[in-house]
């Protein structure tokens, strides 16, 4: 046989062995085997191409004629060179190596991995929305502006707030925007505040955003009921406190029942209340952050409003505020004029823009489609079913897992593998990997940090009772059959347990780094020991 092979193929060694296979061979898709999928670079053959451009009929000026000599790169950047056929096949094969909501349940607590209706996909692909230039003047984009205004009004109604910015492209961006609003407001009151209070159960983005907002984080411990203790809160509340960040229901899936008292206490010292909307799905049409006393609310439209997660984004994290904060919102803001004509306006004392244009607009269009398709009646039923599913599973898991806070939960429930670990040596992580063998994505593990060996289960409302039952049954079966062999899981999936430590130790962040596999660069923070420990903790967290 001849040697029609790519360089990389040679580098890969003899084929036939398990490993990345060249060409159109599909052993990498689980349907056909358990091989690696070669990288696109290994499928490359110099001179091959997929690209095709419109006929321009312009003078064929050369690169040298178009670019000053000192600016022109001596050679083009080398990218993969593949046919359209190989391009499509490679990424289609990779897609078979990927779990997703559209394949099955994804009970990843805090992430709200619900089914995203396909009608919303269609909204996002309408040329009349997708092909609009962000700098086009308002009179050419009345449809977009109308949509954004209507979405903003709807979200304000859902959260009980007064006004909104749609610019923040994700939850964390919303948090930071909210903190900058907090800061701007305090400064306008002539106050210098330094601290923001966060419960110990909070998501990592909260403290990270606090730092970037120029504040110091003050952690307040949860009480034995898993909630913010009013007493503990009172202890840290003083005139330096700019505000508090809460999510309600909190990350244990529990409703902070004393929220009104908390709000009063924070307001008492002149602080503001920030609502982390990650858990909004639980309370749609049931209760509203604005009514609880919150001043600033961000929403994760990619959780609650069915913007699909896209493997980690894009999302959208609008921030809604009470009247007193409205003048500080980022601009330009879409507004409806008295004449019914829409335009952009800059809020009076705007903190400025938080995005290069107007936020993740197409994600906002999806959310709008979802909002109007559900309507007020539909939104409430979402919360009801989400909460019912979570409570059902909490009941079903009693006896098999520890349930640290075994009282009525909202849309998610946190259980723990502490006893399993003690009695059978099976950790939360092992349970998670075992669940992959059972045809489910695993719950969030090791979060919230305040629960030992935490498994945070959020079925969402789009999973049927049958699915929730099957999930519970699988979890029970795992607990029943737990054994040290579970450390071997997963065994039936595309790859076996992945060596995360090696990835960090021997950093290979690109295909080009593969050959020279560098030991991880050192003496920057965090220090070695800390690093190792944290890297370990990182496994499976959110």
């Amino acid at each position: 046989m001849t040697d029609v092979t790519t360089d990389s193929e040679v580098a890969n060694g003899a084929s036939g062995a398990r490993g990345a296979k060249p060409g159109g061979r599909a052993t990498s898709i689980p349907l056909m085997g358990h091989d690696e999928e070669p990288t696109i670079f290994e499928l490359s053959s110099p001179g091959r191409r997929a690209w095709s451009f419109r006929t321009q009929d312009l003078p064929e000026w050369s690169a040298e004629e178009l670019v000053p000599a000192d600016q022109l790169a001596p050679a083009p950047v080398v990218l993969a060179e593949v046919s359209e056929r190989d391009l499509v096949a490679h990424y289609t094969r990779l897609s078979h190596r990927q779990y997703a909501v559209d394949l099955g349940a994804y009970p990843l607590g805090s992430c709200t991995m619900k089914y995203n209706p396909k009608v919303c996909d269609e909204a996002a692909s309408l040329p009349g929305l997708a092909d609009v230039h962000p700098a086009a003047p308002a009179h050419l984009t009345q449809g977009w502006l109308e949509l954004l205004v209507a979405l903003g009004e709807g979200l304000c109604e859902v959260t009980g707030m007064h006004d909104i910015t749609l610019q923040p492209p994700a939850g964390a961006a919303g948090e930071l925007t909210g903190l900058l609003l907090m800061r701007a407001w305090h400064e306008a009151q002539g106050r210098q505040r330094t601290k923001v209070i966060i419960p110990d159960s909070a998501h990592g983005t909260n403290p990270a955003s606090v730092t970037l907002g120029g504040y110091e984080t003050v952690t307040v411990k949860s009480d034995e009921r898993g909630c913010v203790s009013l007493a503990a809160l009172q202890e840290v509340l003083d005139e330096d406190v700019a505000g508090i960040m809460l999510t309600n229901p909190n990350t244990l899936g529990l409703f902070e029942e004393e929220i009104a008292e908390i709000a009063a206490a924070v307001h008492e010292v002149g602080g503001l209340l920030y609502y982390d909307g990650a858990n909004l799905n639980a309370i749609l049409g049931v209760t509203r952050p604005g009514d609880m006393g919150f001043d600033i609310v961000h929403m994760n439209l990619h959780k609650t409003f069915a913007v699909p997660h896209g493997g980690g984004g894009p999302g959208a994290g609008p921030v809604a505020v009470s009247p007193r904060l409205a003048p500080y919102l980022p601009g330009p803001k879409p507004v409806r004029g008295a004449d019914g004509v829409y335009g952009w306006a800059q809020p009076e004392r705007s903190i400025g823009r938080v995005h290069g244009w107007h936020g993740n607009a197409l994600a906002l269009a999806r959310a709008y489609a979802y909002l109007i398709a559900n309507g007020g009646d539909g939104l409430r039923s979402i919360a009801e079913a989400a909460v019912l599913n979570a409570n059902w599973i909490r009941h079903a898991l009693r006896g098999s897992y520890d349930i640290p806070f075994d009282r009525p939960c909202m849309h998610e429930c946190v259980v723990s593998a502490t006893t399993l670990k003690k009695t059978k040596g099976v950790k939360a992580l092992d349970v998670a990997k075992r669940l992959l063998e059972e045809g489910f994505h695993s719950p969030t593990v090791y979060f919230p940090l305040i629960v030992d060996e935490a498994l945070m289960i959020e079925p969402t409302e789009t999973e049927s009772p049958q699915t929730v039952a099957a999930l519970a049954e699988a979890l029970v079966r795992i607990a029943d059959g737990a054994s040290p062999a579970d450390a071997e899981a997963p065994r039936v999936n595309a790859v076996r347990r992945v060596d995360e430590a090696r990835a960090a130790r021997q950093l290979v962040p690109t295909f080009d780094a593969r050959q020279e596999a560098t030991p991880s660069p050192s003496p920057s923070p965090p220090s070695g020991a800390e690093q190792g420990a944290e890297e370990l903790k990182a496994v499976g967290s959110i």
Partner: protein, 456 residues
């Protein structure tokens, strides 16, 4: 129940019984009564109970009609308007192959790859994306995406300030003004001092010194906002003179022709990835490109995918150096970014693979040709003058004899999105014009003819 809630009435009843409740309302008993909205149908006019003041849900076809109605109220580039606007958002070819594969539901409906054993698809696509971004920027490491070009600049600012422990940053006026504004917004929280360095003759005129202390870094855009080609090597020299880092905001299309910033000594490269397969989309979701050197990798914001092996030694991918991230390091994280723009990064990877070595160059050449032809044709119109005398690549700025906003409105009637009105800071009556590989001679000539009419 709503359209997307599968539970039937008997199932609800059965489930409620299992959890010991007798009504859905009881699920919310932990919520104080005073805070609760009422369930059931909204009372018609003037009912006493508090309900969401939202219309009832629409059917799917009605939802589609409503969205189509809204879409119909916009002038879209393509059928309605031939696009000559850029300013960070460009009208490029997006092949069906890229879209149809990147939007497969496995990519669209996956979460962040927390369980690598069942997420090799997204992980490997991101690893390939990182490699491609590393190559077009000329730097060793790229992250797995940030929100957009503007927020990538914000993250770069945080990185350089932390790395240098100096609060000051010099920003070229040639950096997109919206990005600079975004940086200012966030600088309030971090306390950075941003110093703008003016353009002179369309290029950044770096000072020997500028107020308030040595800069942590210089930020320069290549090409800059007015389309001008900057002297990145010179910026590197100035940075060195100040012991500062160099951050280059790079247009990925420029990588088809220009030196990579990495090869000219940039420490960080940021950019807007929209030109790599993403439609104009009113400005989002776009894609923040971010690359840096191996030395700075511990300060990298956002996710990073690395290669490793599984328990059987099979090649596998996983998110790595996670101790930088907020979920582990919390208030000491290198950034607060959690959800990023993964799907757009996957799109960009596919688009770059579609382009390949020759396509990326061809793309840049074709943009440059269209831009040159547009420039030559409209500069021939009386009263239209160059705003700066500088070499350009895919975009350029002119001074018009009439208010740009008016010109843009009147050109829209002729079927063209004429460009972007420039901010006052760049001089009077400036219009920024871009022509991509999609623009043909016929379109450009028609554009020029219309412009001649409009500015007359």
């Amino acid at each position: 129940m709503g359209h997307y809630v599968p539970h039937t009435e008997p199932e609800l009843a059965e489930m409620l019984a299992f959890v010991g409740l007798s009504s859905l309302d009881e699920l919310f008993d932990t919520i104080p009564e005073a805070l609760r909205l009422a369930a059931g149908p909204r009372p018609r006019a003037g009912g006493a109970e508090r309900h969401l003041d939202l219309a009832d849900g629409l059917s799917e076809p009605d939802t589609r009609h409503e969205l189509a109605r809204l879409a119909g109220r916009n002038a879209a580039c393509g059928p309605d308007l031939v696009c000559f606007a850029g300013g960070g958002a460009y009208d490029h070819e997006i092949p069906t192959a890229v879209t149809s594969v990147a939007f497969r539901s496995e990519y669209v409906t996956a979460y962040t790859p927390y369980q690598p054993e069942v997420a090799q698809g997204v992980l490997q696509a991101l690893f390939e994306y990182q490699t491609m971004v590393s190559r077009i920027t000329g730097l060793a490491v790229a992250n797995a995406s940030l929100y957009d070009g503007a927020t990538a600049c914000v993250e770069a600012a945080n990185l350089v300030v932390a790395a240098k422990r100096r609060p000051t940053i010099w920003l070229s006026q040639g950096l997109n003004p919206r990005w600079r504004e975004t940086m200012s917004t966030f600088a309030v929280g971090t306390g950075h001092e941003l110093v703008t360095v003016d353009l002179v003759d369309g290029r950044t005129a770096w000072p020997d010194a500028a107020g308030s202390g040595e800069p942590a870094a210089l930020f320069v855009a290549q090409p800059n906002y007015l389309g001008g080609l900057e002297d990145v090597a010179e910026a590197r020299r100035v940075a060195d003179a100040h012991g500062a880092l160099l951050v280059v905001a790079f247009d990925p299309v420029a990588a088809g022709l220009l030196h990579t910033p990495g090869s000219l000594g940039a420490d960080v490269v940021v950019g807007e990835g929209q030109p790599l397969g993403t439609p104009l989309s009113l400005g989002g979701p776009y894609l923040g490109l971010f690359a840096t050197t191996l030395e700075l990798v511990r300060r990298l914001p956002g996710r990073l995918v690395g290669e490793t092996v599984d328990a059987e030694g099979t090649r596998a991918y996983v998110t790595t150096l996670r101790t930088r991230e907020q979920d582990i390091r919390r208030e000491r994280a290198s950034s607060n970014v959690c959800t990023n723009q993964t799907l757009i990064a996957v799109v960009a990877a596919l688009q770059m693979a579609w382009l390949g070595t020759t396509g990326l160059r061809e793309l840049a050449v074709r943009c440059a040709r269209a831009t040159r032809h547009t420039r030559e044709t409209i500069l021939a119109i009386e009263g239209v003058e160059p705003l700066a005398d500088v070499a350009t690549l895919r975009e350029f700025a002119v001074r018009l004899p009439v208010e740009p906003a008016t010109v843009i409105d009147r050109m829209a009637e002729e079927g063209f999105l004429a460009g972007i009105a420039l901010e006052e800071e760049y001089g009077e009556r400036g219009l920024l014009v871009a022509a991509t590989e999609r623009r043909t001679r016929a379109e450009i000539d028609a554009y020029a003819a219309a412009l001649e009419k409009v500015v007359r």
